[in-house]
């Protein structure tokens, strides 16, 4: 059919390149149906985000007899690359191309719309597979634990990000953006993403894959000032330099810093490693240096502002006179004990009230336990492990945020996922992981799911969703218009 013609033209196109392309194309055309074998090592991965895909990629490459099945709760793959990465960071989403190649590999299968822990248990996966890898990330969020955090106008960054990125469970959020000042608690990259999205010119956002409801809400937004609050000082800020530079350069905004926060920072910079040094220098420059004429003019013309507020911890979200809406936040003033990364924030006893109608808490994501049979460290909110081997649970491994806690950039997750894959392969080689008995893999799980009325979404089903989203995006000049409900995702997948 037309597909064959296309492939032939591919071959011709690449044949002049003289690389190993052709041999790859020749050996690669086998369908998935031929590859499955009971002799294979069957591995299931729980969670179809970056950790799951990077772990799968490494395993498939490491051993020719490994067959990997990725189970994902949502009908759509890629986890936080789809629902976490900011819409104005499309470059980061290029990793999807590699994940797609992994998913299409003859020894990899994607099963979306399968909620492990509910539709199928970890124990059932263990029976069907030689190993189970937990890569389900950090779906919870740490709460501030202060009075007033349930008031209207207080949101978790996780929900706010999920709202503008089309996470189905966050679509009801409809945040109220009618106030002028927003306070973000936390100074990690998520906090800066939220600040940037709140203040970005609409012309920039409307060319991204931000959802239409979010775009419309932001078009009506009155937020003109965003304060990004951290309990420690500039030397301890958690975000990376790229995100700060984006704020510094954000059109239509000016930085609003407090010079006193940077006292003694220049001296302290001498002995710190380059990344921390450059990041701090950028903040210093922004806060302390007199800008050049052009920059001054830019700042004067800016209608919005943003700034860091250091040495502050939330004490209470303050309500308006009707006691139902956020009117401000009371912050405790801290001082630092110790120095460097290990410095602790200690209370001074002073407090300070800041008027604001919007409070977004961005103090960290948190992994949740998946099943009573799997060990879980509630204090650290991770699955306890040694190099990805879950402690006291033979045959169970973990990768990504559930392994390390919710920190790091995509390369961090990539490396830690590769490490877990290496641990697993080592265990196969050393005999620690017993692969002598044949395992049915997805065959038995499919039967279970069918009995339970659960219909998985395959990767080719996802491609239907993908196509529809891209087509809808094309109509409005966006790379994609995300489908916002699980119901519609399933409907499109099954057409």
């Amino acid at each position: 059919m037309s597909c064959h013609k296309l492939l032939l033209s591919e071959l011709k196109l690449w044949s002049s390149g003289g690389s190993s392309w052709i041999s790859r194309l020749r050996c690669g055309g086998r369908g998935k149906a031929f590859s499955s074998s009971s002799q294979n090592v069957h591995i299931s991965i729980v969670g179809g985000g970056p950790a799951g895909f990077y772990t799968a990629q490494n395993l498939i490459k490491a051993r020719q007899d490994v067959e990997v099945d990725i189970y994902e709760r949502l009908p759509v793959p890629f986890g936080l690359v789809r629902f976490g990465v900011a819409p104005d960071h499309p470059e980061v989403k290029n990793v999807i191309n590699t994940f797609t190649q992994t998913a299409k590999h003859s020894r990899c299968n994607f099963y979306g719309n399968v909620n492990v822990g509910k539709d199928v248990s970890i124990e059932e996966l263990q029976q069907a597979y030689h190993a189970v890898i937990l890569s389900y990330g950090a779906e919870g969020n740490r709460s501030m634990g202060v009075p007033g955090e349930d008031l209207a106008g207080v949101y978790s960054a996780k929900d706010f990000v999920g709202w503008y990125n089309g996470q189905p469970t966050c679509q009801e959020l409809s945040p109220d953006l009618s106030c002028e000042t927003a306070v973000i608690l936390g100074q990690g990259n998520v906090a800066l993403d939220v600040a940037r999205i709140l203040l970005s010119p609409l012309d920039v956002l409307k060319k991204t894959d931000i959802t239409q409801p979010a775009l419309e809400a932001l078009a009506e937004s009155h937020v003109r000032r965003v304060l990004i609050v951290g309990r420690r000082g500039p030397m301890q800020i958690a975000c990376t330099i790229k995100e700060i530079r984006e704020m510094v350069n954000l059109p239509g905004t000016r930085p609003e810093m407090i010079a006193a926060d940077y006292e003694g920072v220049t001296e302290a910079l001498k002995d710190v490693p380059r990344p921390r040094k450059r990041l701090t220098e950028l903040m210093l420059k922004t806060a302390m240096e007199t800008p050049g004429e052009k920059e001054q003019e830019r700042r004067n013309n800016a209608s919005c502002s943003w700034g860091f507020r250091f040495f502050r911890s939330p004490v209470e979200v303050l309500a308006d006179t009707n006691r139902n809406r956020t009117a401000g936040i009371r912050l405790a003033v801290n001082k630092l004990e110790g120095s460097g990364e290990a410095a602790r924030a200690a209370l001074t006893g002073e407090v300070e009230d800041v008027s604001c109608g919007l409070v977004i808490s961005s103090i960290g994501y948190k992994s949740l336990p998946i099943d009573p049979s799997v060990p879980f460290d509630f204090r650290k909110a991770i699955v306890p492990n040694s190099m990805g081997r879950v402690q006291q649970a033979a045959g169970i491994y973990c990768s990504g945020w559930v392994k390390t806690g919710p920190t790091g950039v995509i390369a961090t997750t990539m490396n830690n996922s590769f490490d877990t894959a290496r641990s697993l392969v080592e265990d196969i080689d050393s005999g620690v992981l017993d692969i002598s008995a044949g395992k049915p893999g997805s065959q038995s799980i499919s039967t279970l799911l069918e009995k339970r009325g659960v219909k998985p979404v395959t990767f080719s089903d996802w491609e239907k969703i993908d196509n529809v989203e891209m087509k809808r995006g094309e109509a409005s000049g966006k790379p994609r218009e995300k489908i916002l409900t699980v119901e519609e995702m399933l409907r499109v997948a099954r057409t």
Binding site: L7, G17, G29, E91, Q101, T240, N415, D419
Partner: protein, 165 residues
């Protein structure tokens, strides 16, 4: 050439087995562009090319050639060099996975470095004073015979601190 490389990268695969469907999906609307560019730029004479000696994470030396103007990331993709996870963001300055380490004399010849590249390098594992991102280094004749080391990806320190108590 850069576009051709980008397209190849789209369909590039790091596994032994390659699915035909991937090539189909990756080509899509780019096909016409691909053809004209391929025809237009392909017959590059090898004597024009620049030799690069890579040292992979196992310390193994791999010698390849690439046309002037190609980036080191292009060379890695085009020559199908198997460096795990290399070039995750596909050369868009959004990650640090194409981190490479150079000899000091070579490093000095590599030309200016932008703030944005430095920002990404700051997140790289095993950062050195002579580190650069492969996607930002373009081959020139003056770099003929240079040696380039792919740094070992070391486990994140956070892992031993938090993950394996």
């Amino acid at each position: 050439m850069a576009l051709v490389t980008a397209l190849k990268r789209l369909a590039h695969v790091r596994f032994g087995h390659y699915s035909l469907r991937t090539a189909t999906a990756a080509s899509g609307s780019y096909r016409t562009v691909q053809r004209s560019l391929t025809i237009g730029t392909q017959p590059l004479r090898s004597d024009n090319k620049v030799t690069v000696h890579f040292f992979n994470r196992d310390g193994e030396k791999i010698t390849v050639k690439g046309p002037p103007g190609d980036s080191l990331l292009d060379v890695v993709i085009n020559e199908d060099l198997d460096f795990d996870g290399f070039g995750a963001c596909e050369g868009t300055l959004a990650c640090s996975t194409c981190h490479l380490v150079f000899d000091e004399e070579v490093y000095k010849k590599l030309g200016p470095i932008t703030d944005e590249e430095m920002d990404m390098l700051d997140l790289a594992y095993g950062l050195t004073d002579t580190s650069r991102l492969g996607c930002q280094i373009c081959l020139t004749k003056s770099l003929e015979g240079m040696e380039v080391r792919v740094p070992e990806s070391v486990a994140d320190i956070r892992q031993s601190k938090d993950g394996s108590s």
